[in-house]
C-alpha cells in the first residue's frame, strides 16, 4: 500500500522542466572582484550568542569564494573554541541577500577536474563541520543561498516574494558541490530533493517552509524609527537570537513535524525496491527531456543514489568528483557563457535616458501589443492600449487581464494587486492622452504602408520628446522611419511571442536613431524584465535573418520527403526546444511566407534552398499553423498529441525533389539546419549588424531557441571548432551551392585556430 503511495508521488516529476530554453534563466550566480584578507566576515557576541555577519566588500552580493570560505572557517573555529558562546546566528549585512552561491569565476579559472574537485571537497569539509556543530547555528535567509544554510541547524527566512530558495546549479551544467546532493534528500525527502536539484527551480518562502527547507518565516517590517530594510535585518537578528538561545537550551527542537504524506514517503523510501523504482522513473524522465544533451541532471541522480545506497562518505566523494567532471564539460562552459552574456544584456550601455518613460502608448491590441502591455503595466508603467476596433481592443484587454489573473491563480499576485496593476492600463480607440506619451510602441499588422500611416498619425499628436518604436520582425526600421519628421526618435523594438514568456527583446537602431532614443528603448525593455540585444538595422535584423536560411532549409528537407514528425524529432534531439516544422506552425505560415519573400528579395540566391511555393500553397489553403488550427499538423483544443495534417500530402508531393544521398543522413540534416543558422549569425557579426558575439548567442538562445547546451552560435563555433564547421558547410555547398558558402569571418576562424569569439 505504502509503496503504491510512494510511487504515486512520482507523479510530481511530471512538473519537470529541464532547461527548456523559454524559461531558461540563471539567477543565483555572481561574480566577485579581488578581495582583501579577513574582510568578508565579522562577528559580535550578544549574551551567549555569536552573531556572524557576512559582508563582502565592493560587491552587491556575497559569493562563496576562497577568501570568504577561509575566513568563515577561522571565525567558526573561534566560536567553537569559545567557552562564552553557546550558539550562533549567521546573517548577511547586505539587505536582501545571503550568500549567492558559488563564485563561477573561481570555477572557470580551474584547468583540471581535480582542481574543481578539491574546491568542492574543501567546502564539503567545512559544511560538514558546520552541520555537526555542537553549538547550534541559526541561518537568516533574505534571498538566496542554500549551500551554506542547509548545513545550519535552523533556518529563518524573510517571507516576501524576493525570497527564493533553490539549487540553480543544474542550470549552469553543474551540481550543488558542497554537500547539497547529500543533505537535501535528508532534509526534504528524496523526491522533493530531486525536483529541486534537477530543475533548479525557485522556491518561494512559504513553500520552502512547508517543505522543511526553512524552519521559521519572518515578514518584513514597515517603517518605524529607521529605514524598513535596516530595522527588518535587526528584527531578524533579534528573532534568530531567541531561537539560537532556545536551541542551545534545548527548549526548541530543530526537528520539524512531518505531515502524513511526508512520513509515508519517507517510510516508502526505506524500501529498496521503491527507491530503485524512483531512481528509474526520474532517470527515464530526465533522459526523455534532456535527450542526453545535458550531463548534469543524470550525474545529480547518480550522486544522490550513491549517497543513499552506499553511505554519505561515498556520496560526498562522488559529489566532488562529478562536480569536477561537470565543471569541465562543454555544456557547462556553454551554459556559463550564456550566464555571462545574460548579465551583459541586462545592462544599458547607452546610459540613463534624459527622460524616464512613465507614460507608454501601444498601438494595436493584438497578441504582441497586448503582450507588451502586460509586461509594462505590472512594472508600473501607465499604458495606453489603442486599437482600431472595440472587438480587437476587448480581446487585447482580456489577454492582459488573463495574464495577470493566471499569476493570481499561481499565488504570485493577490487579486488586489492584480486589480491595481490592471488600472495602469487604459484601452481606447482614439489618440486621447497621446500628448502625454513618452514612448509609443506600434504593434500593428506587418505592412509597410499601414506602419507609415500610423507613424504619421501618431507624430501629429505626440510631444517632441516622445520615442516612436516599431515592433516588427522583418520590416527595416529605416524604411519605416522614411516618412518620419523626426527619424532620430524612431527605433525598432522586436518582441518575441508570447511576450510575457519570452525573455528576449531585440532593439534595432538605424543610422539616424539618436543615442538617447536607444537609451530610452533599452531602459523600457529592462524595466519590462527583458534580456536585450541591440543590433543595426537591415533586412531581418539579426534574429529573423538567422532563422530565414534555416527555414528555407526546412522547406527543402520537407520537399526531399522527410516527414515533419521526423524533422521535428531530429531538431529537438539536437537541442532545439521546438521542432522545426512545429516552429513554422507556431510562428504562423503566413508570417513565415512574408519573411521568406522579403528576405529572399534582399539576399537573393543565398537565401534560396527550399521552394517558397510550399508556403504560398499552404497559405492559399488556409493552413496558417496553430492559429488557424491547421498547418503541418492539426491543432485541436484539448488534444495533446497532434496529428499530421494529411491534406499536406498532395502539396508536398507536388513539390517533391529527390534527396541527395551524400548529405541526407540524420546527422547531415541536423547540420544543414544548424550550419546555415550559424553561418548567417557569423555573417551578421562580420557585417556589423551584431556588435558582439555575446549578443548573438543570447539572441539565438533566448529568442530563437538555439540549443542552450551549445551556448549559442558563436559559443558553438568556439567549442565545436570553426574548421569542422567550415568543412561541413563546404560539403553542403558542393551539393546545393551558394546557400552554404562559409562567410569570410568563419573562414578566418577556421584558418587560424587561435581565433576564438570568446577569449
Amino acid at each position: 500500500m505504502v509503496a503504491c503511495r510512494a510511487i504515486g508521488i512520482l507523479g510530481r516529476f511530471s512538473a519537470f522542466r529541464i532547461l527548456r530554453s523559454r524559461g531558461y534563466i540563471c539567477r543565483n550566480f555572481t561574480e566577485s572582484s579581488a578581495l582583501l584578507t579577513r574582510t568578508h566576515i565579522n562577528y559580535g557576541v550578544k549574551g551567549d550568542v555569536a552573531v556572524i555577519r557576512i559582508n563582502s566588500p565592493n560587491s552587491k552580493v556575497n559569493t562563496l569564494n576562497k577568501e570568504l570560505h577561509s575566513e568563515f572557517i577561522e571565525v567558526m573555529n573561534e566560536i567553537w573554541a569559545s567557552d562564552q558562546i553557546r550558539s550562533a546566528v549567521l546573517i548577511s549585512s547586505k539587505p536582501g541577500c545571503f550568500i549567492a552561491g558559488a563564485d563561477i569565476n573561481m570555477l572557470a579559472a580551474c584547468k583540471t577536474p581535480q582542481e574543481v574537485t578539491q574546491i568542492s571537497q574543501e567546502a564539503q569539509r567545512t559544511f560538514e563541520k558546520l552541520e555537526k556543530s555542537t553549538k547550534p547555528v541559526v541561518a537568516i535567509l533574505q534571498s538566496h543561498g542554500d549551500t551554506l544554510a542547509v548545513s545550519c541547524q535552523y533556518r529563518i527566512a524573510t517571507k516576501d516574494r524576493k525570497t527564493v530558495l533553490g539549487t540553480p546549479e543544474v542550470l549552469l551544467g553543474i551540481l550543488p558541490g558542497a554537500g547539497g546532493t547529500q543533505r537535501l534528500p535528508k532534509m526534504v525527502g528524496v523526491p522533493a530533493a530531486f525536483d529541486m536539484m534537477l530543475t533548479g527551480r525557485n522556491i518561494r518562502a512559504d513553500r520552502a517552509k512547508k517543505m522543511g527547507l526553512v524552519d521559521q518565516l519572518v515578514e518584513p517590517l514597515g517603517p518605524g524609527l529607521k529605514p524598513p530594510e535596516e530595522r527588518t535585518i535587526e528584527y531578524l537578528e533579534e528573532v534568530a537570537i531567541t531561537f539560537a538561545k532556545g536551541l542551545a537550551d534545548k527548549k526548541i527542537s530543530p526537528k520539524r513535524d512531518k505531515g502524513l504524506v511526508e512520513k509515508l514517503t519517507a517510510y516508502a523510501m526505506t524500501i529498496p525496491f521503491v527507491r530503485q523504482q524512483v531512481y528509474k522513473k526520474v532517470e527515464e524522465k530526465v533522459r526523455k527531456q534532456t535527450k542526453g544533451l545535458y550531463p548534469a541532471p543524470l550525474k545529480i541522480i547518480d550522486v544522490v543514489k550513491t549517497g543513499i545506497e552506499q553511505g554519505s562518505d561515498a556520496g560526498y566523494l562522488s559529489e566532488s568528483q562529478k562536480f569536477g567532471e561537470l565543471a569541465m564539460t562543454k555544456e557547462s562552459k556553454a551554459l556559463m557563457g550564456l550566464y555571462h552574456g545574460q548579465v551583459l544584456c541586462k545592462k544599458n550601455k547607452f546610459g540613463a535616458p534624459q527622460k524616464d518613460v512613465k507614460h507608454l502608448a501601444i498601438l494595436g491590441a493584438g497578441l504582441m501589443g497586448a503582450g507588451i502591455a502586460q509586461v509594462s503595466v505590472d512594472k508600473g508603467l501607465k499604458t495606453l492600449l489603442k486599437d482600431a476596433t472595440l472587438t480587437g481592443l476587448g480581446r487585447g484587454q482580456q489577454q492582459v487581464f488573463k495574464g495577470l489573473n493566471d499569476k493570481v491563480k499561481k499565488k504570485a499576485l493577490t487579486s488586489f494587486e492584480r486589480d491595481s496593476i490592471f488600472s495602469n492600463l487604459t484601452g481606447q480607440l482614439d489618440y486621447q492622452g497621446f500628448e502625454k506619451a513618452d514612448m509609443v510602441i506600434e504593434a500593428v499588422f506587418e505592412d509597410l504602408s499601414l506602419k507609415h500611416r500610423v507613424l504619421k498619425e501618431v507624430e501629429a499628436v505626440i510631444p517632441d520628446h516622445c520615442v516612436f518604436a516599431s515592433n516588427t520582425s522583418a520590416l527595416p526600421i529605416s524604411e519605416i522611419a522614411a516618412v518620419s519628421k523626426r527619424p532620430e526618435k524612431v527605433i525598432g523594438m522586436h518582441y518575441f511571442s508570447p511576450v510575457d514568456k519570452m525573455q528576449l527583446l531585440e532593439i534595432i537602431t538605424t543610422e539616424k536613431t539618436s543615442k538617447d532614443t536607444s537609451a530610452s528603448a533599452v531602459a523600457v525593455g529592462l524595466k519590462q524584465g527583458k534580456v536585450i540585444i541591440v543590433v543595426k538595422d537591415g533586412p531581418g535584423f539579426y534574429t529573423t535573418r538567422c532563422l530565414a536560411p534555416m527555414m528555407s532549409e526546412v522547406i527543402r528537407i520537407l520537399q526531399e520527403g522527410v516527414d515533419p514528425k521526423k524533422l521535428d524529432s531530429l531538431t529537438t534531439s539536437f537541442g532545439f526546444p521546438v521542432g522545426a516544422a512545429t516552429l513554422v506552425d507556431e510562428v504562423g505560415v503566413d508570417v513565415a511566407k512574408h519573411v521568406a519573400e522579403d528576405l529572399g528579395k534582399a539576399f537573393g540566391e543565398r537565401f534560396g534552398g527550399g521552394n517558397p511555393e510550399l508556403l504560398t500553397q499552404m497559405v492559399s489553403k488556409g493552413f496558417l499553423g496553430r492559429k488557424s488550427g491547421k498547418g503541418f499538423y492539426i491543432y485541436q483544443e484539448g488534444v495533446k498529441n497532434k496529428n499530421l495534417n494529411s491534406d499536406m500530402d498532395s502539396i508536398l508531393a507536388s513539390l517533391k525533389i529527390p534527396p541527395k544521398s551524400e548529405v541526407s543522413s540524420d546527422e547531415d540534416i541536423q547540420f544543414r539546419l544548424v550550419t546555415s543558422f550559424v553561418n548567417e549569425a557569423v555573417m551578421c557579426l562580420q557585417e556589423g549588424i551584431l556588435a558582439t558575439p555575446a549578443e548573438g548567442d543570447i539572441g539565438a538562445v533566448f529568442g530563437l531557441g538555439f540549443p542552450p547546451c551549445l551556448g549559442g552560435p558563436f559559443c558553438f563555433v568556439d567549442l565545436y571548432g570553426a574548421q569542422k564547421l567550415v568543412d561541413r558547410l563546404k560539403k553542403y555547398e558542393a551539393a546545393y551551392g551558394k546557400q552554404f558558402t562559409p562567410c569570410q569571418l568563419l573562414a578566418d576562424h577556421a584558418n587560424s585556430p587561435n581565433k576564438k569569439f570568446y577569449q
Binding site: 515578514e219 517590517l221 514597515g222 517603517p223 518605524g224 524609527l225 530595522r231 528584527y235 493577490t414 488586489f416
Partner: protein, 441 residues
C-alpha cells in the same frame, strides 16, 4: 500639577459665521465580551437600547430630531440600514430619516462628523449619531459556488432543469465563508499587522503588557468610582439587567507574560491580553446647533470642533492613523499639544498605541514619512485615556467613536480642562482625530 491653569493658545475654537455645534449628551450600553449577555440579540436590538437610553437621558422630544446616523462594521444583512431599524423600534418618529455609515473602527466618528456637516451646512438642527456592533453573531455565508447553485435552482423551471442544477453540487460547496478581521487589500489580519508595527518600532512585549495593565487598572478604577457615567443599564430580554462593562480584568504582569502570541507565532509580541477583545455594544449621542440646544433649555456638555480624516498605506502603516491625524487637526484648530487637557485615543492593541507614541516622538519618522520638519511629541501619559480605553472597556467596532468623544467631554468636565483630543486608527489604513471643547460651566 494643574494643567488647566496653563494659558491656552486660544480661548475658544468658535469661528465667526460658523454655527457652534454641541453635544447635549451621549450614552452607551454596557460593552460586553461577545458571546455573553447580548449573544441572542440582533444588532438593531443593541442599537435600540442605546437610543432609548439617550431618549431617557436627554428627554429630547422625538419630533425635533431631524436625522439619525449610525455607524457599523460587520453588517447584519437583514438590517443593512441598522440606523433606521433601531430608530423605528426605539420610538423615534417614523418621519425622521436615518442612514448607516461604515468606516471600520471610526464608523461612529464618521456618523458624528456627518451629523456635524448636516448641522453646519444648515440642513439640520438636531441629529442623533451613534454606532453599534454585535460580534456575537456575524454573517457566515454559504460559499460563492453554493450561492450560485441556490440562485440557479431558484430560476430553474422544470424538474429536468432543477436536476441538472443539483447535479452540479459538490461537497466542497458546503464550506462556509467567514468574515475575517483582515484587510481585503493585503489579506493580513489586523493583529498580525499590529505585531509587525510593534516590531518596526521596537516595542517590547513587556512594554505592551504594562500598557494593557494600565488600561485595565484605570478602567477598573473609573468603573468603581462611577466615572463611566455614559453607561446606561440595559434590560436584556430573558436575562438580567446589564449595568456595567464586563471586559475589565486587571491581571498581573506575571500572568500576562504566560500568554502565547496570538498572531505571529511563536515569536510575536501581540497576545490576547494586550489586544482589544471582540465586543458587543452600542452608543448614541445627541448633537445640536448651539442656539437650538439653548433655545430648548439644554446645558450642553461640549462643543465638537475641528476634525480630520487621514489615510495611509494599509500594509505597513495600517494603525498609525492617530500619528498622522493629531498634528494635522491641532494645526487646523490652531492649538498645540500643550493645549490639550484630555487625550482619548482608541486602543486597538497596546503595541499599536505604543508604536504611535514612538512615531509621534520621532523626528526621523516625522521627516521621512509625514513631510514635517519636527515631531509632534508625546501626549503626556497622565492626561491620556485616564478612564481606561478600548483594551479594557471593549471595542464594538462601530460604536467606539462616540465612547471616545463622551469620555473626553466627561473628563473635561470632571477634571476641569478645556480641550480634548480624540484620535483613532481604522482598517484600510485610515485614521481620525477631533477636538472636543468643554462647554463653559
Amino acid at each position: 500639577w494643574h494643567h488647566s491653569v496653563q494659558t491656552k493658545t486660544k480661548k475658544t475654537l468658535a469661528k465667526p459665521n460658523i454655527r457652534n455645534i454641541v453635544v447635549v449628551d451621549g450614552v452607551r450600553t454596557p460593552f460586553l465580551l461577545s458571546g455573553t449577555s447580548y449573544k441572542d440579540l440582533m444588532p438593531h436590538d443593541v442599537a435600540r437600547a442605546a437610543l432609548t437610553g439617550l431618549l431617557h437621558r436627554t428627554s429630547v422630544p422625538k419630533e425635533v430630531v431631524d436625522y439619525i446616523i449610525f455607524g457599523t462594521v460587520i453588517q447584519e444583512v437583514k438590517t443593512s440600514n441598522v440606523a433606521r431599524e433601531a430608530a423605528l423600534g426605539a420610538g423615534f418618529s417614523d418621519k425622521t430619516p436615518a442612514h448607516t455609515v461604515t468606516m471600520a473602527c471610526i464608523s461612529a466618528n464618521q456618523a458624528m462628523t456627518t451629523g456635524v456637516g448636516l448641522i453646519a451646512s444648515g440642513q439640520c438642527d438636531v441629529v442623533v449619531a451613534g454606532g453599534v456592533e454585535l460580534m456575537s453573531d456575524i454573517p457566515i455565508r454559504h460559499s460563492r459556488k453554493m450561492r450560485k447553485l441556490m440562485l440557479d435552482l431558484n430560476k430553474a423551471k422544470s424538474v429536468g432543469q432543477r436536476l441538472s442544477v443539483i447535479s452540479k453540487f459538490r461537497l466542497n460547496f458546503l464550506a462556509p465563508e467567514l468574515p475575517a478581521v483582515a484587510e481585503f487589500s493585503t489579506s493580513e489580519t489586523m493583529g498580525h499587522s499590529a505585531d509587525r508595527l510593534a516590531a518596526a518600532f521596537a516595542v517590547s512585549r513587556l512594554e505592551q503588557d504594562e500598557y494593557a495593565l494600565r488600561s485595565h487598572s484605570l478602567a477598573k478604577k473609573a468603573q468603581d468610582e462611577g466615572l463611566l457615567s455614559d453607561v446606561v443599564p440595559f434590560k436584556v430580554p430573558g436575562k438580567d439587567t446589564v449595568t456595567k462593562d464586563n471586559g475589565i480584568r486587571p491581571s498581573s504582569l506575571e500572568q500576562m507574560a504566560k500568554l502565547k502570541p496570538a498572531f505571529i507565532r511563536p515569536y510575536g509580541t501581540v497576545t490576547a491580553a494586550n489586544s482589544s477583545f471582540l465586543t458587543d455594544g452600542a452608543s448614541a449621542m445627541l448633537i445640536m446647533a448651539e442656539e437650538k440646544a439653548l433655545a430648548m433649555g439644554y446645558k450642553p456638555k461640549a462643543y465638537l470642533r475641528d476634525f480630520m480624516y487621514v489615510s495611509q498605506d494599509p500594509k505597513d502603516q495600517l494603525l498609525l492613523g492617530p500619528t498622522y491625524a493629531t498634528p494635522k487637526v491641532l494645526e487646523k484648530a490652531g492649538l498645540t499639544m500643550n493645549d490639550i487637557d484630555a487625550f482619548e485615543f482608541h486602543e486597538a492593541f497596546s503595541g499599536q498605541i505604543l508604536a504611535n507614541f514612538k512615531a509621534m516622538d520621532s523626528d526621523w519618522f516625522a521627516q521621512n514619512y509625514m513631510g514635517r520638519k519636527t515631531k509632534i511629541g508625546l501626549p503626556p501619559l497622565e492626561k491620556f485615556n485616564n478612564w481606561g480605553g478600548s483594551l479594557s472597556l471593549g471595542h464594538p467596532f462601530g460604536a467606539t467613536g462616540c465612547r471616545l468623544v463622551m469620555a473626553a467631554a466627561n473628563r473635561l468636565r470632571k477634571e476641569g480642562g478645556q480641550y480634548g483630543l480624540v484620535a483613532a486608527c481604522a482598517a484600510g489604513g485610515q485614521g481620525h482625530a477631533m477636538i472636543v471643547e468643554a462647554y463653559p460651566k
